[in-house]
Amino acid sequence: MNYEYDENIIKNALSTVEIPEYNIIPEVDKKIKEQKSHMNFKRIVAAVLAVCLCLMFSVGLVAAAIPNFKKLLFFVASDIALMLQPVEISSEDNGIKMEVVAAMNDDEMAVIYLTMQDLTGNRIDKTLDIYDYSLTGMHAFNCQIVNYDEITKTATLRMQANGGEKLDGKKVKFRIDSFLSDKLIFDAVETGINLLDIASANVSQTVPLDMNNIPGGGGSLFEEFKEQGIVKVLKADQMKHSLPGIEFMYISNIGYIDGRLHIQTKWVGEGIDDHGYFYFVNTAGDKINISASNIYFGTDESGDTKYGNDYVEYIFDVNNLNLNEIKLMGFFVSNGNYTTGNWEVAFKIQSVGQQKQTDCNIKFDTWTVTSISVSPMGITLTGSGENKEPQSITVSANMTDGSVQTFESVRSFSDNGKVKIKFTSSLPLDVSKVQSVTVDGIEINNKN
């Protein structure tokens, strides 16, 4: 081997990589200043955690408690790790072990880290999707897998629940009744449908559907259909157009009704959560955004519509599109395993730190914010009315050192005219340093 020659080849290749200059100093300075303001808070939380650990030692639980909790700390951010409290209570059923490893909460929201391990088979994989689960006193849930260990067949999940009331110190029950795994994803499915060949459906090719007697649907046109009360859908089962590789559904009719493209699908698979959607791409292969909706329904023996979910009709407003230049594509998901069981644990949750609440009166068009709570986990706006667009509200925390903390994630919960919107960040909020909170430009001083 010609040593220098080889090295020159590599050098020439690597030298083709030219990256732009980047002004590092301001960014590093800013972050160093930010971390100084978090230091005191971290020290307090670390001290609290140290006390907790000492208490655990004293009751002899440490031998069982530390390993799994430690494993979890390995892959959560250090700021989050500081807020986590070990729980480590497990439940086993149907050869599957569920363990709540750690939790953190404030008065309104709880985050639980849990593991699911298949002790006998391969039902837990990295496509695991917890299907039916609950946490007492909570309403809005979100659960996602954060790690999967191939060797131990263990999935670690993060479950976030919102909408709670005075959670601090409460004993809660977390329960899982079923989950899905072995997920199959079919993306960019070529439908083989030529949009120019689709004809308009005349009256005899449509059937009426009562929008008050359907299990569900969605999309931007859905409200319009709901207001109409009775809408026209395509007559069921007028064709059977299968999509490549997909056995759990097929296109059962297609046509235009009142200028809108209707694609009717029949779902014949056994997967409890088989789902998907159609979309359009332009000649460059880019997705096109258009008004669309879907409606679920069933049919009786005579072909009339009834309540059910055997069929999904996808409806698109394609009036402004040049059908010569677009292609119909699909995205579909099916699950190979649906596993049921009874996995349940009860444990006490303690708030991660102090929480401050300030009364206010901020009026929006459809609702009014009556109080603002600040906790290490984020900011909660509580009020009354109806809020459909929580993302449109901007909230930030103004800190005593002049810095401003913003929030990346927002979740809302409404019930009986009561609205709660939670703004969270990947960094814990130092409550003692929050001077005021700005809600859509209105500054509310934080009570001390």
């Binding site: 080849i9 590599i10 690597l14 990589v17 990256i19």
Partner: protein, 174 residues
């Protein structure tokens, strides 16, 4: 401030010394992280973290030793941590990277190496680090590093040959 002066001043220094270190090593470290991560924006984050860690832990830096090697060591562990966390949290394959500054052919070839191998090849070929410096950065003996480097180099040459006809032709002429 010159590199050698900084080797002595960094431990007891403050923000001025940090700024000098960033001016001296910031851009080379950005390139280094970019070659490991193959993602420009992640490389920016990694370099920021490197300097913040270095500033916070400056008391542990041994006065008079090579600040450059110490910073590269921090940058290397930061990049490897970042890849590990990314993989753990999002199941992202290491090939799922995004950089418009690397040609597709080269990226494909670089991806045949592990991140540790990419780092080593880059330190040796582009940064022209001595094996003494490499020992400090990668915490391994010069003999081990030499073997690792040779293996990585052979692997990369083979991949370059397979992914880019220009290098294949060069090889044939050799």
């Amino acid at each position: 401030m010159e590199a050698r002066e900084l080797d002595y001043a960094f431990t007891a220094g403050g923000e001025y010394e940090l700024h000098c270190a960033i001016e001296l090593y910031g851009q080379p470290l950005l390139r280094y992280c970019h070659n490991i991560l193959c993602d420009y924006f992640e490389a920016q984050d990694a370099v920021q973290i490197t300097f913040i860690k270095a500033y916070n832990k400056r008391k542990s830096f041994k006065n008079g030793t090579s600040l450059s090697a110490w910073l590269y060591r921090i940058a290397y562990t930061t990049c490897i941590d970042s890849l590990r966390k990314k993989k753990l949290l999002f199941f992202v394959q290491q090939t799922n990277t995004d950089s418009k500054f690397i040609s597709d052919d080269l990226k494909e070839a670089l991806m045949t190496l592990s991140p540790a191998e990419r780092a080593l090849v880059f330190s040796r070929v582009i940064d022209e680090k001595s094996y003494a410096d490499l020992e400090a950065i990668y915490n391994a003996s010069a003999t081990t590093l030499r073997k690792r480097y040779e293996r990585a180099k052979t692997k990369l040459l083979k991949a370059l040959k397979e992914t880019n006809s220009y290098y294949a032709r060069l090889e044939e002429r050799k």
